[in-house]
């Protein structure tokens, strides 16, 4: 298969509520991504669109709805979907487009507009639960996070205070991100004293609902060498789905993330991820999820992610910077767009273009990961600069 590179990226602001429609947001990100690498729509061979449940927008066929703003007119367009994992599944899908030799340039666009669903998008999230055995109990999406977090804390003896450090770090990192709408300087005490939503989850453990879009451009090696001085190669991809019978699973450890990571590592020739990966953007919709995912990604031992966080290893200037963008907790969480924002962050970090967010030491290899569906899917890309 052919080598595939990322050569451009674009983002909108992430907002509680945007004036722009979905297609308008997609356009703002997609046009910016093309402009950033000197390409135009005429150069685009195929388009991959990512967006999470249609129920947020109340618009069916969201891929088709977004396509005009995403550069999809008269082109091969697809919309891969894996719930919250979509933001990293879309570049994986785009990778097939280019690595297979079918296309030289694939435009990757992710958009989410969660503000449309009233009174609250939680009302749409209820439809992800089993319709016959779980929905009669009137579950809230946060239930499954709270249940998983409790099991994780109990299994490894981790405290809420230790987990709160993730929110403190990511919301601070987000202060340097131009898309943010939720960055702030907070303390562990602030997290602990924020409203208890679904115990053990407090308000400041949770990423917000957001509107926004992100886009990147994937190209073949020939195109990359021609138009870019510093392409970022996608060296490895991996994804994995666990059973939808989520109440049958071990909630303390995301084994599906491990399987996705192992697939990506094998492809990228990563044998010692803790030494070889320089910067990480794991999915952090809730504070404990960053820890859960670092363990699933084999970047620390099971139950040890809280410790390396407390030791400062995951700070921007630490040995293994984690979520230097600010992540979903510090920038915002327009679901699919938030996952692709993480891929864009690794792109900028590896090119040394992350400005005030730049991690030191000229990182060469980075990883972005997303997660979702009913706590069951992991999506991973490993990226590298020459």
């Amino acid at each position: 298969m052919r080598k595939v590179a990322v050569v451009g990226a674009g983002l909108t602001r992430f907002m509680r509520r945007a004036q722009e429609t979905g297609p308008e947001l997609a356009w703002l990100a997609a046009s910016q991504a093309l402009e950033s690498c000197g390409l135009g729509l005429k150069d685009v061979d195929s388009v991959a669109i990512g967006t999470a449940p249609d129920a947020f927008d109340g618009v069916h066929m969201k891929g088709e709805y977004l396509a005009p703003g995403a550069g999809g007119w008269g082109r091969p367009v697809t919309r891969p979907y894996a719930g919250g994992g979509t933001g990293v599944l879309v570049p994986i899908h785009a990778w097939f487009n280019v690595a297979s030799g079918l296309f030289d340039v694939c435009l990757v666009v992710a958009e989410e507009k969660m503000s449309t669903c009233h009174p609250h998008p939680q009302g749409a999230f209820v439809t992800i639960f089993d319709n016959i055995l779980e929905r009669p109990l009137e579950p809230n999406l946060i239930w499954i996070f709270a249940l998983e977090m409790q099991r994780y804390m109990d299994t490894y003896g981790i405290t809420k205070e230790e987990i709160a450090l993730v929110s403190v770090k990511n919301k601070r990192n987000g202060l340097d991100h131009p898309s943010t709408h939720v960055a702030e300087e907070i303390t562990v005490k602030d997290v602990m004293e924020s409203e208890v939503m679904v115990s053990p989850v407090n308000r400041l453990d949770v990423s917000p609902v957001s509107d926004g879009a992100a886009a990147i451009v994937l190209v073949s090696e020939d195109v990359a060498r021609r138009i870019s001085d510093n392409p970022v190669w996608i060296d490895g991809i991996g994804w994995n789905l666990d059973t939808a019978y989520w109440t049958n699973r071990d909630l303390a450890y995301p084994s599906y993330v491990e399987r996705a990571a192992r697939m990506a590592y094998k492809m990228a020739g990563i044998t010692e991820p803790r030494k070889q990966i320089n910067v990480v953007e794991p999915y952090d919709p809730f504070s404990y999820k960053e820890l859960h995912h670092l363990e699933g990604l084999l970047l620390c031992d099971k139950g040890q992610a809280a410790k390396i966080t407390a030791d400062g290893v995951t700070q921007r200037n630490g040995d293994m910077p984690v979520s230097p963008s600010g992540g979903l907790l510090g920038v915002g969480n327009p679901i699919a767009a938030a996952g692709l924002m993480k891929v864009a962050e690794i792109f900028w970090q590896l090119r040394g273009e992350a400005g005030r967010r730049q991690v030191p030491g000229q990182p060469k290899v980075g990883l972005a990961q997303a997660w979702g569906d009913l706590m069951q899917v992991g999506t991973v890309v490993v990226m590298r600069v020459d």
Binding site: A18, D130, E134, N140, R151, P178
Partner: protein, 173 residues
């Protein structure tokens, strides 16, 4: 790509109240009638009878709760119906201050994944009741509290909730 102002126009609550942008409302009004299927259909019928039933796979030796007519691991038909106990242990739990639509409740809703005795790590999402929140812990032994037979209708709600096992009343766990 760091210092520049990114595109996008945030709207505030005031913008909406003052009508600065036009919006269109559309209340979705849809009704669905789901067939409960072969496996869950029988499961619900047995709940109406005050019993919990699973399906066993003779190849991987699992007793599946919720039951399914196929084993997703062995990818073959499951083999037999098997009654399991209406007791179990708390796999994990939570105290929810939110309803399904994110509105707030006064008294927290007690939620748990219950591993059903006699199944192979078969869990059900359900409520806990007759228990003080601070007493709930992972591994706690619990038993189903059923609705009276005449009120049961073949629904997961035929079990009101799970309560801690009282060894005086229920015998040794």
């Amino acid at each position: 790509m760091t210092e520049r102002t990114l595109p996008g126009t945030p709207l505030s609550d005031e913008d909406m109240q003052q009508g600065k942008v036009l919006t269109l409302n559309w209340p979705a009004s849809l009704r669905y009638e789901w067939d409960t299927g072969v496996a869950i259909g029988r499961f619900l019928r047995e709940l109406k009878n005050g019993r919990i039933i699973g399906r066993s796979c003779h190849r991987c030796q699992r007793v599946l709760i919720p039951p399914r007519m196929f084993c997703e691991r062995c990818f073959r038909p499951t083999d037999a119906w098997q009654f399991v106990q209406d007791s179990g242990s708390v796999n994990t739990y939570s105290l929810s201050h939110l309803r399904w639509d994110a509105s707030r409740v006064e008294e927290p809703i007690l939620v748990a994944v219950i591993e059903i005795d006699g199944s192979s790590q078969g869990g059900l999402l359900h409520y806990l009741g007759d228990v003080r929140p601070e007493e709930i812990h992972i591994g706690m032994k619990v038993k189903a509290v059923w609705k009276p037979a005449e009120e049961r209708e073949g629904s997961i709600l035929d079990i009101r909730h799970f309560r801690p096992i009282d060894t005086a009343q229920d015998g040794p766990a």
